[in-house]
């Protein structure tokens, strides 16, 4: 996995780069590292944001200096290698790949020279991992998308796509928890409400989780509480 690299990210943050490219093995180790940190969180540690190949660490400079933080992180990273007994949470997410509602299905199929059915099969056949959280509360960056489905972002982003839109861009796929502007191609609609819930604003996904999509029909979408909206 190579050497980790530390870079200063201002006076109270560090960026820890763990590898050149994302991988399942790296993600497992980041997941293990997060668990280790959760078990033993020092008072100076404010935030750890994992993303693909890096951790962004925010600390309190009044309590600790960056070299101490680096040493602490390096030692936890070493320990994380032996933590193998982890089982990521698995989510099955129902998706209505409704071509009338999601015109991008057609566009992606045409771009890739395949039938819409194949696009749906390819998208729902794989188990994805959560590589990062961000963009909006409840939004998870899922990867890796099958090479055969990879398309660039839209040249002109849409000003609005509905909550629950399931979309793809390059090697990633995601579900939009709320209505949003978006530059990704929308393949389907998810009937589940993925917005933060309750007092604790809890969200469904965590980094390292596994996600698979299950194709459902229009009737099931509506039964699960989905609201149909044409993506235009």
């Amino acid at each position: 996995m190579g050497d980790v690299k530390f870079s200063a990210a201002g006076s109270s943050a560090l960026l820890m780069t763990l590898a050149n490219a994302p991988s399942d093995a790296l993600l497992n180790r980041i997941f293990a590292m997060q668990r280790l940190i959760a078990l033993d969180t020092p008072s100076w540690l404010i935030d750890v944001v994992p993303a693909y190949v890096s951790l962004h660490i925010v600390f309190d400079p009044a309590q600790v200096n960056r070299f101490e933080v680096q040493r602490w992180l390096a030692s936890h990273w070493q320990t994380s290698i032996s933590d193998v007994a982890l089982k990521p949470t698995v989510h099955t997410i129902p998706v209505y790949y409704g071509d009338v509602y999601c015109p991008d299905l057609d566009i992606v199929a045409a771009m890739k020279g395949m039938a819409i059915e194949d696009v749906i099969t390819l998208h729902s056949a794989f188990v994805y991992r959560v590589y990062a959280l961000g963009f909006a509360p409840g939004f998870a960056y899922l990867g890796d998308l099958s090479e055969e489905l990879r398309v660039p972002r839209l040249t002109t982003p849409r000003a609005h796509i509905p909550a629950g839109a399931v979309a793809i861009a390059e090697r990633q796929t995601a579900i939009y928890p709320t209505a949003s502007p978006a530059g990704w191609h929308v393949l389907g609609l998810c009937p589940l409400d993925l917005r933060p819930r309750g007092e604790a604003l809890s969200t469904l996904f965590a980094v390292g989780d596994e996600v698979r999509f299950e194709s459902i029909d229009k009737a099931a979408f509506i039964e699960l509480g989905g609201v149909l909206e044409v993506v235009s």
Partner: protein
């Protein structure tokens, strides 16, 4: 007794804020919090509130409200005319309001943000340990949104009759000239060419129209060297992003938690506060500090924030 603030004119953007949420970026939430933490803490100190009491952040002024009971108030931050019942009064000072008093914050002449603290502090349902509003996420503050005319913000009960306090002129904000933004190196500083570095910490930039609680876009006559895009990584408060168009974007209190643009600099907390008081057209420049210097400045500023230099009005 219970006292509330009733909004008469909401101005362009008024939100309930405190010092912000900590430790929520890992879950994708913005920290929020007062854009100018010095002025926010100053206003709270003047009415004897705790530093993290919820107060009202007013962008560029135009805010008017009435109180329905006696309460102490202070306004700090941008330079804007302040009136109580159409009588001009001083900012950066405690004022005792009576039931029915109407407070008007005029349009800011210089600076961008004003903080209205009322004794006791605003009472809103805390979210993830903070009362700060993040509009983009519809979270926190007054029902997750900006204040509107007709809203009533309840204040925590408080015993009356404190001796008024003030900040001497030397401890108030001074505006004017090119704003010097103190920064230290960001993760991609090394990627800039010598010329790129020289321009980033030498040029004067203008604050563009695109500046809000999430980020400030800056402009210079000629775009800076652009750097290749990267895999998204965690981004922090004050990070100076350099997108392909060569015009920097500084991440402010409501910033997103992930980004794929290179970040050659990161502002110190005092730089973030200073930029939070800038408005479109203001001139700014970056000053790069070594890690050691930055650490000392951060500590000094932290001490300044914690020991607010107010004095009693004699």
């Amino acid at each position: 007794m219970k006292v509330s603030l009733h909004v008469l004119k909401p101005g362009s953007c008024c939100t309930v804020q405190d010092l912000g949420r900590q430790g929520v970026a890992s879950r994708g939430f913005s920290s929020g919090g007062a854009m100018d933490q010095y002025a926010a803490r100053a206003a709270n100190a003047l009415v004897d509130n705790s530093a993290d009491a919820a107060l009202i952040e007013v962008t560029l002024g135009g805010f008017q409200f009435e109180v329905d009971g006696p309460v102490d108030m202070a306004v700090c931050g941008a330079e804007a005319p302040l009136q109580i019942n159409q009588r001009y009064v001083e900012s950066w000072r405690t004022h005792a309001l009576e039931a029915g008093d109407i407070v008007t914050l005029g349009f800011a002449q210089r600076g961008a943000r004003l903080y209205v603290a009322l004794a006791g502090g605003a009472v809103v349902a805390p979210r993830l340990g903070s009362s700060s509003t993040v509009l983009r996420e519809s979270i926190g503050g007054y029902h997750g949104r900006a204040l509107r005319a007709g809203d009533a913000v309840e204040l925590a009960p408080r015993e009356l009759s404190m001796q008024p306090r003030r900040f001497s002129v030397t401890h108030r904000h001074r505006f004017g000239g090119v704003v010097n933004l103190l920064a230290s190196a960001g993760p991609q500083w090394q990627q800039l060419s010598r010329e790129g570095r020289r321009r980033l910490v030498g040029d004067v930039f203008q604050v563009s129209q695109q500046c809000d609680r999430m980020g400030y876009r800056l402009q210079s006559d000629e775009p800076l060297q652009s750097l290749p895009g990267m895999l998204s990584e965690g981004v922090g408060l004050g990070a100076v992003q350099l997108p392909n168009n060569g015009h920097p974007i500084v991440l402010m209190r409501d910033h997103q938690t992930m980004g794929g643009y290179p970040k050659p600099l990161v502002l110190l907390p005092e730089g973030v506060d200073a930029l939070g008081q800038c408005r479109p057209g203001d001139a700014v420049k970056f000053t790069l500090l070594s890690n050691g210097e930055a650490r000392r400045r951060v500590n000094t500023y932290q001490q300044r924030l914690q020991r607010m230099p107010w004095e009693y009005v004699s």
